[in-house]
Symmetry: C2
Subunit: 102 residues, 2 copies
Amino acid sequence: MMEPTALESSKESARDAALSAAPGWQWSERPPSLFRRFQFGSYGQTRQFLDRLAEQSDALGVQPQNINFGTTYVNVTISASGPNLSESECRLAAELGRLATA
Amino acid sequence: MMEPTALESSKESARDAALSAAPGWQWSERPPSLFRRFQFGSYGQTRQFLDRLAEQSDALGVQPQNINFGTTYVNVTISASGPNLSESECRLAAELGRLATA
């Protein structure tokens, strides 16, 4: 079996670091991104989550690549603004995960 | 050429009514929907539009089927909650069009 190149192993560790910081999110490459679907019981809860998402986003200075929502769901994609997801980008994902399960 | 059935012509008039009430939107069927992409110069303008969209949505009691946004764009889909788009659904589309060009 061929040894992973230095680049491959650094990519893997970046992915593993992001996923351990933000459990419940899905990872994708090109660009490195975290994706998660949040489901809610009512439009009111969805709107509350969106408001708090905006607050966290402002506080961390991180703007999700895309937010896609309907009355009872919010799909969030956070993409790396650099070569890998930054600490703040991972923290936003982690905070949103906590918000949704709070 | 075959005459359109009563159903077909009522569908066409519903589509024409919606598009004349909400210029700049695209029409699609199943379900009858209006779609439009709004482009903005900054994340701040995007957020302002989203806030006002939420106000209009509350005021008219109409919740868009889907809102999909990034830092400088907002894609809005308003789908008929009944057999055809209601007056309020068309009004929300018209209001959003005015907001974006104001």
